[in-house]
């Protein structure tokens, strides 16, 4: 398992929104749920809209799943598994992420 890399501090997070981090050349969208205090990290690339935009989507829930809706064409991606709810062909890469001593840390997947 690779090392945890700090990408930003906890204070950079805005509850219920995403941000984009650069992790070893890969664009990663990080989301922070204000209610559950959970962090999620998935690839920032929207495979349907074909652009690096997912960190700018709206976070929410569909049933039990925590999701982000693509800002381009509004497909939902499960933040836990990376799966696209509308089109299971598409699956985002997911990344381990944690809050550690006030810092947001990730591991290259």
């Amino acid at each position: 398992m690779s090392d945890w890399i700090t990408v930003c501090s906890e204070s950079d997070l805005t509850p219920n929104t995403g941000l984009c981090a650069l992790l070893g050349g890969e664009q990663v969208a990080v989301f922070y749920c204000g209610k559950t205090r959970k962090l999620f990290a998935v690839s920032n690339y929207d495979p349907i809209g074909e652009a690096n935009v997912l960190s700018r989507g709206i976070m929410g829930s569909i049933g039990e799943a925590t999701v982000v809706a693509s800002p381009l064409y509004k497909q939902h991606f499960n933040l836990e598994t990376g799966e696209c709810l509308e089109d299971t062909e598409h699956k985002l890469k997911t990344y381990p992420v944690r809050l550690h001593e006030g810092e947001v840390q990730m591991q290259a997947a």
Binding site: V7, T17, L22, R56, G57, S61, A69, P71
Partner: protein, 844 residues
């Protein structure tokens, strides 16, 4: 086979309907059509004639135009009256001497206003109310008059009285009978109508027989009455009934009725088998039908007969429902209870001024007639019960009593109606038609209207049509549910009420108290918009930021590659050369693709996230503000150049447009809002396809609402006319806030209005007459919104904390490395997939 020649005499409402039906018939190519009109224009909507006084133009009223007739091979001759029929040679001759042979002749000559034979009735300023030209003369006469008298207190007389009252004249109605609308109303109904009309300032004189019109002392004329009294007036409008225009029939020996009217059989044929008569000139079963719907049915029958079909005319119901000077009046069937043995129930509320009388059959099982004044909600039910011969409920009185809480138990379940029941008489739409439309996927009134045309005529059936639709939706297992999404069991309107009444300030508060889950991309922006509409907080505050949709969250319009476009506000489309140069310089420096928008602004494309604040800093410093092009909010107020430069301009449209845009800029709403102001009726700003349109007239400003261009075009409705600026702004304040409060998510004003029960009339009642008593509140809400306005970009560029988000990566200053562009017509655009591959190869 050579074509059959069909000549149509009269191009009024029914003549045109006949032609329209024939050219859309499958055998249309077998006929050659010629029509003659005594009037100088092709058919127009006489039913809506009075709207000419509230600003509608002749073009608005037109039912057809020259192009349409030409495209369909219809020959027409205007301003030429047919004066002769040579039945043996089958030729008609016109006043100008033109001869036209026919195989089939259709008389659709309508009727003419009856002017009682009173000495002096032919003086100047003695007028009638039938054609657009008549209205032109009334308008002109009103300018030189202070007092006006309408002779005749029937339906048309009262409509005419309203018109001259609105023209600012002291208005009198003189009626020969003891009561108003004697044909349609009984004594009680007539009495209440009189009281209501007198409350509006119109003086009613009943049982007056005019004996002569002589020179007046105070006014231009004096009318002397048989009882010795008199009345002074400057203008006299005769509306003492109509007479069928049967002159040709009389002269050329077609059978006519004792009291006029061209006698026709069930085929709408006269006693000459090649001559038909339809509309108000025709006498069927001893009756004249003075309404347009039966005329339309006759037109359909005549087309069927001429083309070899077998449709028959079988009479028509003459029930009516209308609004006279704002007073609701309806008459159904045998309003006078002349049916032998008829019995009645009467409800008379002098406090609320409501009168209802229900007339039932001798055996007490059927409705035979009704009179309703002041409250006509029961019209649809009662009419359907009568037309479909339905049995009365156990307690018939309940049908006209005011509803008491459990109103659902009375009235008529629409389920009880047979499929053949005609719901819309203007367009002959049956219950079965509406059910079919629902089965084909319509789920709202907007859909029903475009699929069936139901309630797009007089609109009287809107409530009933909606009930039929709802019942059908329910029976198909649709739960008529307006929940916005899975997180809230409320509609947008209900959420808006909750937010407003409970003073909720954040999404989390609302979710906590009224929802569940985390929310989603449906409810979050909707609630974000509601919060912004009522409290107008800075949208990028921590507690609001996660609610903002794709474009709002970075205050720019996201393009397909994830970059943004920038649209600064250019109020009214007016811009100085200096500012134009700034835009050019910024675009050049950041290599932005530049395009003029439809809303008279300039759109700069291709800015990356980190560039947005840099660009906006420049723009804000140069005096620009955000244009809210990214928001579901007020966008632009388009304007023409108006009276300051234009040779034709009537008023300063640019100045007013700028004022309006500055007032409402930034207002967040259920969907985007577009405005326009035109400086004259040439309408170069295209205000009639906007949510709010304003057009200058000689007498002030006309206000149009709920128009739309775009995907589902809708012509705006004339809402009020000849307003001063202050009143117009007041109405727009109320209108916008009422829309913000009650519309569904992403519902443009056009669709909102189509789904608003009661339609335009109701909207006027709320906005102009303050029927709901909320006008002040709406204005206050708007005032608060305006007071809290800020330029979101100014706030953002001045706040370093906020600017942190405007970076592609939180942990690097690099930009998105996947963007690729190609040059086209001297500017860049995103590369397509194929082009990208080539670009990569080139780089390698």
């Amino acid at each position: 086979m050579s074509k059959q020649r069909v000549v149509v005499v009269g191009n009024g409402m029914v003549g045109h309907k006949f032609i329209d039906n024939l050219i859309n018939h499958e055998k249309a190519d077998q006929y050659e059509i010629v029509t003659f009109s005594e009037e100088s224009r092709l058919a127009y909507d006489r039913v809506q004639l009075s709207s000419y006084f509230s600003g509608a133009t002749a073009a608005d009223l037109a039912l057809t135009d020259r192009e349409y007739y030409r495209d369909n091979g219809v020959n027409f001759v205007l301003s030429d009256k047919v004066v002769e029929i040579d039945r043996a040679a089958k030729v008609v001759v016109t006043e100008s001497g033109r001869k036209e042979p026919y195989d089939k002749l259709v008389l659709a000559t309508g009727s003419f206003p009856f002017v009682p034979p009173i000495p002096g009735n032919d003086k100047e300023h003695c007028l009638v109310y039938r054609t657009i030209d008549d209205l032109g003369m009334i308008k002109a006469s009103a300018k030189e008059s202070k007092v006006g008298v309408v002779v005749g207190g029937g339906l048309l007389g009262l409509e005419a009285a309203n018109a001259i009252k609105n023209l600012g004249l002291e208005t009198h109605v003189v009626e020969f009978a003891p009561r108003l609308m004697a044909v349609q109303l009984d004594e009680g109904g007539g009495k209440l109508l009189r009281r209501k009309i007198e409350d509006l300032g119109v003086k009613v004189h009943t049982e007056k027989a005019t004996t002569e019109i002589v020179v007046g002392k105070e006014c231009r004329y004096r009318m002397n009455f048989a009882d010795g009294s008199h009345l002074e007036t400057d203008m006299i409008l005769f509306s003492a009934g109509i007479r069928p225009q049967d002159e040709l029939a009389r002269k050329f020996e077609l059978e006519v009725g004792e009291r006029g009217g061209i006698v026709v059989n069930d085929n709408c044929q006269t006693n000459d088998k090649d001559i038909y008569a339809i509309g108000e000139c025709a006498l069927w079963g001893g009756r004249i039908f003075g309404l347009v719907a039966p005329g339309y049915t006759m037109a359909k029958v005549a087309v069927s007969q001429i083309t070899g079909g077998d449709e028959l005319f079988q009479g028509a119901d003459m029930s009516t429902k209308l609004k006279l000077m704002g007073v609701d009046v309806a008459s159904i069937g045998d309003a006078h209870g002349n049916t032998p043995g008829a019995q009645s129930y009467t409800y008379n509320d002098e406090i609320e001024q409501v009168y209802k009388r229900l007339i039932i059959s001798e055996d007490g099982t059927r409705v035979v007639g009704a009179v309703l004044v002041g409250d006509v909600d029961a019209y649809g039910n009662l009419l359907q019960m009568m037309l479909n011969d339905m049995a009365l409920p156990e307690n018939p009185a309940a049908l006209i009593l005011p509803s008491t809480g459990d109103s659902a138990s009375v009235g008529l379940g629409v389920d009880a109606l047979p499929d053949s029941a005609q719901i819309c008489s203007c367009y002959d739409v049956t219950k079965a038609d509406i059910k079919a439309a629902v089965a084909a996927g319509c789920t709202d009134m907007g859909g029903i209207k475009s699929a069936t045309k139901a309630s797009t005529g007089c609109g009287g059936c809107a409530a009933l049509a909606k009930q039929v639709m709802d019942a059908e939706l329910a029976s198909l297992g649709y739960e008529v549910k307006n929940d916005i999404c899975e997180h809230f069991a409320y509609s947008r309107k209900e959420l808006a009420d909750i937010v407003r009444v409970k003073q909720i300030k954040t999404f989390d508060e609302l979710l906590e108290s009224h929802g569940h889950g985390l929310g989603c991309e449906i409810c979050k922006p909707a609630v974000g918009s509601i919060l912004a509409s009522f409290w107008n907080d800075y949208v990028l505050k921590d507690e609001h930021i996660g609610l903002q949709d794709t474009n709002d969250i970075f205050l720019g319009n996201m393009q397909k590659d994830g970059t943004y476009s920038i649209v600064p506000r250019v109020a009214g489309g007016e811009i100085t050369p200096e500012k134009l140069i700034v835009l050019g310089e910024v675009a050049k420096e950041y290599n932005l693709y530049t395009k003029i928008t439809g809303g008279q602004r300039i759109d700069l494309f291709g800015a990356q996230l980190h560039e947005l604040p840099l660009i906006w800093k420049r723009l804000v410093d140069a005096g620009f503000e955000t244009g809210h092009a990214y928001g579901k909010s007020v966008r632009t107020v388009k304007s023409c150049v108006g009276s300051t430069w234009c040779r034709y301009g009537v008023d300063d449209s640019v100045g007013f447009a700028i004022d309006i845009e500055d007032r409402y800029k930034g207002l967040r709403s259920p969907h985007k809002l577009k405005f326009a102001v035109s400086g004259c009726t040439r309408e170069c700003a295209e205000a009639q396809c906007k949510d709010v349109g304003v057009i200058a007239t000689e007498n002030g400003w006309n206000l149009y609402v709920c128009g739309n261009g775009g995907m589902r075009p809708r012509h705006a409705d004339l809402f009020a006319s000849d307003l001063d600026r202050e009143t117009l702004i007041k109405y727009v304040d109320r209108f916008l806030m009422f829309y913000v409060r009650t519309a569904d998510r992403l519902q443009r004003t056009s669709v909102w209005l189509e789904n608003l029960e009661g339609g335009l009339e109701y909207l006027r009642d709320v906005i102009i007459n303050d029927k709901l008593g909320i006008a002040e509140e709406l204005e206050a809400d708007m005032a608060a919104n305006i007071a809290n306005y800020q330029c979101e970009w100014k706030t953002t560029v001045e706040n370093p904390e906020r600017l942190k988000r405007f970076k592609h990566f939180i942990n690097s200053d690099e930009a998105d490395n996947s963007l690729a562009y190609v040059l086209e017509r001297g500017q860049r655009r995103p590369a397509t997939k194929e082009e990208r591959v080539q670009l990569v190869e080139l780089v390698d």
